[in-house]
Structure formats: C-alpha cells, structure tokens
Point group: C2
Chain length 367, copies 2
C-alpha cells in the first residue's frame, strides 16, 4: 500500500475525527475507495474504536432509486438507529464514475433526499468527516493523469493543518465582528447579513467544527441575501455539469435563475424544499495548496482566490446556541473565482475591502 | 448485466427472503459481489423495501483485526442497533481472494467472533439469507474457468425449489419420527440422538426455515454424539485448507482430533468456547444439481451423496419451542462423502438403512 494512503487514514482518524478508544464509528465508502477504507479500518483497529463499514456506492443507490416507485419511507428504523448511535461517521468518496447517477430523475433524487432528513441530521450530530480517495474517475474529471492527480490530491490533504488554522483565524475575526458582506465583480453584486453569526475556521478537524479533509476555508451562515451572483467555476452536481449559474435573490430567497449548462438541475435543486432557495453558507477558500480547479467541490471550494455559496442547509456551528438556521434536505456549493478580473473583484465586510482580486488585505500584492 | 444476476437477485428477494414492502433490509456484500448487490438493490427498490448496504470485505476485517490489541468491545451499540431493527439480512459472499484473512491469528479471530455474539444473534433473529456471487476467486478455488464456474453456480442456484422441497420431505419425515442416527463407512462409526428434534426441509427459503441460496439439504440438531468420524471432503475454513479431519466424540463432545492438513485450525476452532466441541448440526445433501465439489461449503454441503456435521451453534428451527440447543460463537461445517465405497457407507435411522453409498432407499439403485 502507498504510504500516503496510510498517512491519509491516520490524519483522518487522529487530526480530523479525533477518534478515541471505544468510539462507535461508521465508515461509508464508495466502490473505488476500498484501499483507503482498508487503511482506515487498520487505523481504527489500532485506536481500539469499533467499526461498521457501509457502502455509499452510487451504482447501488442509482439502481435502488430507479427501481423504486418514488414513495420512499421516511428514515427507515434500522439505518436511523445505526447513525443515531454512531459517535463518528467517516465518508470516503471515490467511485468509478462521477456520472454514476446521472440518469436518476431530479424528482426521484429530491424525494429520496427528503425521506432521509432524519438520518442526515443524525449523521451531522456525530463527529462526521468527509474525505475523498484519489481515484481514476476523479483524475478523469479533473482532466489529469492518475499519478499526477494523486500528487495533487495528497498535496492538498497531507498538510500542516495547525499552521493554516493560524492564518485563517484573521478572516474569522473579521467575519465574527462584521454585520454585512458584499461581493462584487462583473455580473455579481450581492449583499448578505452575517450579524450574530459565528464564522468557522475550517482546519479539517471536528475540533474546529470543520468536517472536510482537505479543508482550508472560513465559512459562515448568511441571511437576508439581496442581489445577483454568477458562479463562473464549472462544477458537477448529481453527475451533471453546471456552468455559469446565475441566481437573483430578493428578501433572502432565489427569485430567478439561469445557467449556461445544467439549468434543469438548478431548477430541481431549488424545488427540493423551501430552504433550498436560501443560502446556508458563505465560504472563502484559503487553501493555497490547492493550486488548480479539478471539478470536485471538496477541493474547488477550498481553492485560494475563490468564494462559494451553498443553497440549502446551514451548519449549526455558525449559529448562536439553540438557534436554528436555514433548513433543507440539500446543501449544494456553487463557486465563483475572485482572481480573474483586474481591480474589480472585491469582498468587503461593512464597507471595508477585505479581499481584492483574490489577495487578502494582509497579504503581499493587495492593492 | 447478465440476466442470471438479475434472476439470482429476484430469487433471493422473493423466494428466499420473502421481502415485503416496508421491510428494513441490510445487504452485506464482499468487494467482488458488487454486481449482485446492484441487482439486489434494484429488486429491493422495486418491492418498496428499505436498504442499508454494509460491506463484509474480508480485507477490511483482516486489517481491523490485525491492528487491534485483541480486547474487542462486546457488541458495539451502533452495529447491534442496525441488526436488531432489521427485518431481513442478506449476505452476498464473493471476495477477490478466498485466503484474504489467512494471516489473522486464530486467537484474534476467536476473540472477535466471541465479542460479536449479540450481533450474530440479532442477525439470526431476522429473515436472514446467505448466498454467493460467482467470482473469479471462487472459480480459482474450485479449479475451474470463470465462465465454467458461473454455469455451475447458476445451475445450482436457479432451480425449481418447490419441486426439490417435495423430494426432501421424505427424509424430513424419517428424521422427525426417529430417535438415533448412525453413520458408518471406513474409519467412521458415529451415533447421535435426534429424539425430540425437528428436521428442516431446507429449500432455500425462510418459509422453510432455510437460510442458504443455494440449499438442498435436510438438517437437524443432534446431541449425545459418540464415536469417530473422518471428513474426507477437503474444505477451506478461515482461508486455510482442512483435509481428512478426524474427530472422536465421547458424551457428546470432541475428546480427540487430528487432520492430514490444517490441524491447528481445527484446534483453534475447538478452543473457541465450550459449545465449539459439540455438534450443532447433522445435514444430508440432496441437491443433485450440484454435481461436483468446489471447495465452498455453501455448495459442497448440499451435494447429493454427502453428509455434513457442524461444530458449534445449533439452529433454533431444529429445537422444541423455547428450548435452546448447543450454543457457540462458531458454526463450522465439515463434510464426508457417502458415495465412495461399495456397500460400506450407510446412514441409518433407528437401525434401518436410509441411505447406502449415496442412494436413498426410495431411489433407483438402492441395494
């Protein structure tokens, strides 16, 4: 086994999920992530944790959903019990085909997601972490050779997370003290409130309320969104390509949408439920170890010089204790590139420019 | 997808497990059985059942057990809850290497099995069915080409089970009415009591208290075993070959053992717990569709002309209501060939010969 697979598993268990002896752990993995699952099983055994390994094979899920009449039972008791009793849930992405469920009708996928909201909540109540095993299909989606892609992925994953956390603390402080964020660039002028919300310094560890490996972003839960935004970073959602998605917000909700590609997917997403038309997240990518876009949201949204917004569910970590934020069965991130235009792409907090053309005001090159 | 994979999945769901809409189903499958798992997922979706797919990858289990200090927690709450709430548990065997866990020390495997006894009980309380997807590694173990092996396996699985059940009812009646079974052939002379026990007409369906697909055997739970038996059908257990295992019974328990190959595995099995030294099952193979030995117990023990005995746990279906039979963390079948010797291999019930050299007394050729 490649030593990096072992390092990845140990980082996941120790730094990210903070697994302790006796923890009840669910490991979810897709078919091509078997090698990382084996390394994770060894790391869990060594720490004296308990493991159930569940498949998240998209081919299985597709076959099930396509054959079902669509009237899905809400939160089946056996699956709900598994996640309610889990201390830790680790999701190891990595299939054999990123378009494996491309032919599942949007309405079916929505109904399936809605029926599993309780299971999702139970998972989000655990010390959950999502990561990805670099597979050939992800290399293909990135337009990269397999070995080249593995170099890229491990370069983003096997980092000094404690040091990055120190850098990201600066932006978190600005967001925590601020009331309104405004994003401006060609075609985009969006304002949103962040008053009373707490930003997360997402350093790839549950100890930082951060649940992705790799991570490297600062995110909060905005509301009262107004204006227009174009997401110019292409991204694959549910096996379908989305390009130049344009959303118009009034009173916090999407009132109009368009896309150069994948417009019907956007429509399906927005129709999932009430909360799917509102934002659950504003995130600012700060992982400069991710040096290119690879059409994989887990990496792309962390890229330095990008900002992303998620339709749907907000994370509790951004909210005051006991308060509930935007609720939805979906959480879909859309990304815009802040580096592409000279002097015109700005992120500001309460009228002060914090980032211009991808440079933060504390960085060299900020004009 | 090969049409036979689909037929296999539908037989499993409808005939074997009798899945109903709304059933909470756990599908366990090993890495190379993914295709059958996909077909099973489609069949479950179509019937409106709920599915959780769990991996039974031997590579994962090996990695976990080898890394663990061996002091396994008993019945982890999340896994126990999953199986306690399951209506149906389907196990789809089929890995990439039948020796995948050959280097797990016997003591570790025993400790792991003992720690999961509650989980096993919960699984056995469900409508459970074990089947196998014909894989390249199973073909290799059988010494057969892949396509040849698939012909063999589907020939054994895709049968008219209702008709076979009619034939097997004859032997069940003899066992139900009888008190003592005696097996004699060269090197073997074994008697055991079956008084008060109920034989199962194992027709590959939970409706017959039968939990294997393929099946085709009549089995009961013997006790007070006395004498000596040689198992001359080689079989692989825990990735290790067992050949010519010889057991000596006194007062129902093994007091001496030997083997031409794999003797230490036999010792490890017998040391698992108290019940591992006693028999949990006497089974008579009656599936003449299985026309050769393939070193896979699921098939071999059903072969016409064979008799098998299992060390360890007895099945509740053989016992009077509320009575508990032999208890153990293991259930390991060992097989003897009744066809090989002229006139000297006999199975008798209360002194009357029921089978001689593999022929039943109601069959042509019974001398």
């Amino acid at each position: 086994m490649d030593e990096r697979v072992r390092e990845h598993a140990e980082l996941l268990i120790d730094w990210s999920a903070r697994v302790e002896p006796g923890d009840d752990v669910v490991v979810r993995f897709d078919a091509a992530a078997h090698e990382l699952a084996v390394a994770t099983a060894a790391a869990l055994g060594e720490r004296g944790a308990n493991m159930v390994a569940v498949t998240s094979s998209e081919e299985l899920s597709r076959a099930y959903q396509l054959a079902h009449d669509g009237d899905f039972e809400a939160d089946p008791a056996h699956e709900l019990a598994l996640y309610e009793r889990a201390d830790v849930v680790l999701s190891l992405g990595g299939g054999r085909n990123t378009a494996a469920s491309a032919d599942v009708p949007g309405g079916t996928a929505q109904a399936y997601a809605r029926a599993r909201q309780g299971i999702r909540e139970a998972r989000l109540d655990s010390r959950w972490v999502s990561t990805v095993h670099p597979t050939r299909s992800l290399a293909q989606q990135a337009g990269m050779a397999y070995e080249e892609y593995r170099e890229f992925a491990y370069g983003a994953i096997l980092r000094d997370w404690e040091r990055l956390a120190g850098e990201m603390a600066r932006l978190k402080e600005l967001f925590d003290a601020g009331s309104e964020v405004r994003i401006r660039k060609g075609g985009t002028d969006l304002t949103m409130s962040i008053e009373g919300r707490t930003a997360v310094n997402s350093a790839a560890s549950v100890a930082y309320d951060s649940h992705n490996l790799p991570s490297g972003e600062v995110f909060t839960a905005p509301y009262d969104t107004e204006g227009e935004v174009v997401f110019d970073v292409p991204i694959t959602v549910r096996g379908r390509r989305l390009r130049d998605v344009r959303l118009t917000f009034e009173d916090g909700a999407v009132v109009d949408y368009a896309a150069a590609e994948g417009e019907s997917v956007v429509g399906d997403l927005l129709d999932t439920d009430e909360g799917a038309r509102r934002l659950g997240e504003l995130g600012v990518g700060m992982n400069r170890g991710i040096d290119r876009l690879t059409d994989n949201v887990l990496f792309d949204e962390k890229t330095g010089d990008t900002v992303h917004l998620a339709l749907g569910r907000a994370y509790d970590a951004n909210l005051p204790e006991g308060e509930s934020g935007n609720d939805s069965a979906i959480h879909v991130d859309l990304i815009t590139d802040m580096s592409g235009e000279r002097g015109s792409a700005t992120l500001s907090v309460d009228g002060e420019t914090v980032q211009r053309d991808g440079r933060f005001r504390w960085e060299d090159g900020f004009a």
